[in-house]
Each structure stands twice: as C-alpha cells, then as structure tokens.
C-alpha cells in the first residue's frame, strides 16, 4: 500500500502526525513534513496510515493500492 500526501490540500491541521507520530512528523510551520510525497507503507505501519488518513480534515492523505504513474 502507498501513502500519498497532497501538498496542495495539506493546510497544517496536524491531526495526521498527532495520531501517527511513528509514521509522520511535523515541520516548523505545523505542516506534515512529508507533504507532497508518496511512498510505500510497510505492513506493520498500515494501521497508522489508515488512522492518519481518517484524521485529516482536508482529505489530503490518500492510500493507494499501486504507485501512481508520476511517483
């Protein structure tokens, strides 16, 4: 499973890294540091990835079965 964080949509609500600090981190403005990135989530972090996606008020985090063509 791939996690993808939309840099345009992310507005720095900080819910994702609060619920999943082992997967995501914050920058000094409060945005998720990994915004704009897409990477494969190891199986043991899948639950965290779902938690993070479910916590975001901007729907900025997507979980994808396959890597997007442009990643």
């Amino acid at each position: 499973m791939f996690i993808s964080i939309d840099a345009e949509k992310c507005m720095g609500h900080g819910r994702c890294y609060s619920v999943a600090p082992d997967l995501l981190s914050d920058d000094d403005e409060g945005f998720v540091a990994e915004r704009g990135r897409c990477w494969q989530v190891p199986d043991e972090q899948l639950d965290l990835a779902y938690e993070a996606a479910d916590a975001c008020p901007e729907s900025a985090i997507a979980l994808l079965e396959t890597a997007p063509a442009d990643a």
Partner: protein
C-alpha cells in the same frame, strides 16, 4: 423562521432562519440541523445581501478549498459589512500565504509545546484562586482570564498585564456587539496604546525573534519590505479578537457538558489520556464559529449551484460537524468516536485557524488541571443557560462545588 418550500430564489429554496439572536442554549444547533436537512443548497434572505448556504460536510470541506475564486472580502455571511480590518484574514492568495508563513511558526505545535509548562502553571494558579469559594461564574471568572494570559504569553508580553487587558478587551467586545461606538473607541484606544508601547519597546530592545513574536514582527520582511507599524498593530488586534472570545466559548460549552454528564467527567478523571480525543469530539459537537463567509469573485458553478460575482457564500461549519452523512449519531457526544478530528471547527483551506494548536493546548491543560482540583461540580440551581448567536458564546455559566 424556516425553509419555505414554495418560495424560491434563482431556483433554490429560501430559508428565513435567523442565526443572530440570543436564544436558549443549543437552539442554534437545532436551527442549523433543520436547515441542512431541508435542502442541500438554499438561499437565506435574513440579511441585506442574503447568502447561499453550503451545509453538508463534503460541500463545506470543498467550499473552503475554493479560495482561488471565493475570497474573504466577506468574512462572515451574517455580517458582510467591512468591519474592523483584520490580518491575515483580509489577505488572499500569495500575499496571505507570505504573512501566514511568518505567523505559522509561532502557532505551530512545536512552538506551542514550548509554551505549555508556563501555561499549565498559570492555569493551576487561576484554578487555585477560585477553588476555596466553592462557586464561580466559569465564563467570566475563568474562561476569559486563561485565554487572555495565553494570548499575552504567545506575544511575549507579561501575563501580569492580563488583569487590565481583560477589562479593555471585554469592554471592546461588548461595545462592538451592542453598537456602542463611543465606548468601543475608548476601549480600542487603550488596547492600541498598549500594543504600540510593546512594539516600540521591541524596536528599541529586540528580543529573540524565534520565541518573541512582537520582536519577530518588527524584524520580519515580506519580499524585502518590513511590515508597516499599522499592519503590526492590526495583526495584534486580530489575534486578540480571534483568540479570546472563541477559546472562552469553547470552554463554556465543554464545562456545561461536563457539569451535566458526570459519567464523561469521571472518565476524564480516570483516563486522563482520553483528554485529546474528548477534546476533538467536544470541538466537533459544539462548534462556536458556526459559519465562515466568502465573496464570489467570478461567475461560476459549485456542483450544480450557480453563483455570480458578488454573491455571499455561507460555509456551514457546524452543519458539517453534525452532518449524519459524515458522522453516526452526530448530535451525541461519543468520546470513542473514530475520526472525530476531521471536524471543521477551525475551518479549512488556507484560512484555517491560525490559533488552533494554541486553543487545543489551552483546552487540554484546563481539562487536565481542573478535574484533579475540582472533580465534582454542577450548574447552580435555577439557572437557565442562554447563548449568543452570530458567533456562539455563553454569556454566563454559574458553577458550584464543595469547597
């Protein structure tokens, strides 16, 4: 006072619901829920310009993302007049982004965590002052004092000024709401003189711009230009207007709930690690900024809703937070609710609340420090609670406990 299904405006049902009066507590949520369920989009004609209402979660979330064509030239659908100039609110596009970049750093979770120990100590002091009396007006004696001190400390100003500052800001709010412009002017002058002195002092003796916000504002530049003195004062006044009444209001609704639901209170005492989750659910269930306004800058369509340049849009925050399409049993408090933090109580898009992490820290600290000291409290007998419309707040919340 409701949606009239026979009357239409540009093909939409017309709502006559008033959202600006004083009512019994929670009445606004009933009106907001009823309007949302009456029609997906509707036009409300209770203000001079009227407004087009987005009310479902998905529409509200996407409404906040229309920032390219819908701007804060109107900030509140209920009050589309210009009002006080506010920064960063009044900016849009890249000018807004550049100012937010300077401010965000002071309001980020990292920055707020640095403030927490001091905030906690102050919170304990205020609670200990009230405890021996066995009663207080929670709203007027506590819920406004603590956010005022937080506000001063984020600016790098002494919290010992809180006592006089709270008097001015209260006078200013009250006078603005009642339209008493002469009192408002005097109160505003006191506040502006105080800010001016602080700014001048930091120009003469700069503090560390990484932790002292006034020093940073004085030194900051945007595209090679310093912020003007007036803009700095506007930013400070905006933070005061945006941060004090809101946090007080949130605390008022939360403590009303906890006074009336001893089982939820007990759970927070037994499982303090639940405080952050409970807080998100409180913010979802009791949003106080229940709408944001925007003005449409060019003709266009929003998923079938036709809008023209100059139209006022209502982005229905509270209606999204209580939308049954998004949340099961939405009008019920559920501390274990999955995904409560997707609520839009702090707005969304580029104008999302600058102070959200400060407000969260403040509320969390109060919930954690109040209950070990005053675990058992109730609303005084015979009190009928009311709420102010426009932007919700409780004028008073008398609480009692065994001292």
């Amino acid at each position: 006072m409701s949606v009239d299904s026979t009357e239409t405006f540009r093909g939409l049902p017309v709502s006559h619901t008033d959202f600006t009066s004083y009512t019994e507590i929670y009445e606004h949520y009933r009106r907001l829920d009823a309007d949302r369920e009456a029609a997906r989009f509707q036009f409300n004609d209770t203000t001079e310009r009227g407004f087009f209402m987005l009310q479902r979660y998905d529409d509200v979330q996407r409404g906040f993302q229309q920032h390219a064509t819908w701007t804060t030239a109107v900030r509140s659908a209920l009050n589309p007049g210009i009002g006080e100039p506010l920064l960063p609110q009044d900016l849009n596009g890249s000018a807004h982004q550049k100012l937010r970049k300077i401010l965000n750093q002071f309001f980020s979770p990292v920055a707020i965590r640095r403030m927490e120990p001091q905030a906690r100590a102050r919170c304990i002091e205020l609670i200990e002052e009230l405890r021996p009396a066995g009663r207080c007006d929670f709203v007027q004696e506590f819920a406004i004092r603590f956010p005022t001190d937080l506000f001063l400390s984020i600016l790098g100003l002494p919290t010992s000024d809180g006592e006089k500052f709270v008097v001015w800001s209260e006078e200013f709010f009250a006078a603005m709401l009642s339209g008493d412009m002469s009192t408002a002017t005097v109160a505003k002058k006191n506040i502006m003189d105080y800010f001016t002195e602080a700014v001048n002092e930091r120009r003469a003796h700069p503090g560390d711009p990484d932790v002292d916000m006034v020093s940073r504002l004085v030194q900051a530049d945007i595209d090679g230009e310093a912020l003007s003195h007036d803009d700095i004062l506007t930013i400070l006044l905006t933070l005061m207007l945006a941060g004090l009444d809101t946090t007080r209001s949130a605390l008022g609704y939360i403590f009303t709930h906890l006074a009336q639901h001893p089982e939820d209170r007990q759970r927070l005492i037994d499982e303090p690690e639940m405080v952050p989750k409970a807080m998100e659910e409180f913010l979802r269930l009791y949003p106080l900024v229940f709408q944001a306004g925007r003005e449409v800058q060019e003709d266009g369509e929003f998923d079938g809703l036709q809008l023209a340049k100059g139209d006022v849009v209502w982005i229905g925050i509270a209606q999204a937070n209580r939308d049954p399409r998004k949340y099961d049993d939405p009008d019920t408090f559920d501390m274990d609710r999955h995904g409560a933090s997707t609520h839009l109580a702090f707005g969304g898009g580029p104008h999302r609340c600058l102070g959200m992490h400060l407000a969260r820290m403040g509320i969390k600290v109060v919930l954690e420090e109040w209950h070990p000291r005053i675990p058992d409290y109730r609303i005084s007998d015979g009190v009928e609670l009311t709420e102010r419309g426009g932007q919700l707040t409780l004028p008073t919340l008398p609480l009692e406990w065994e001292a």
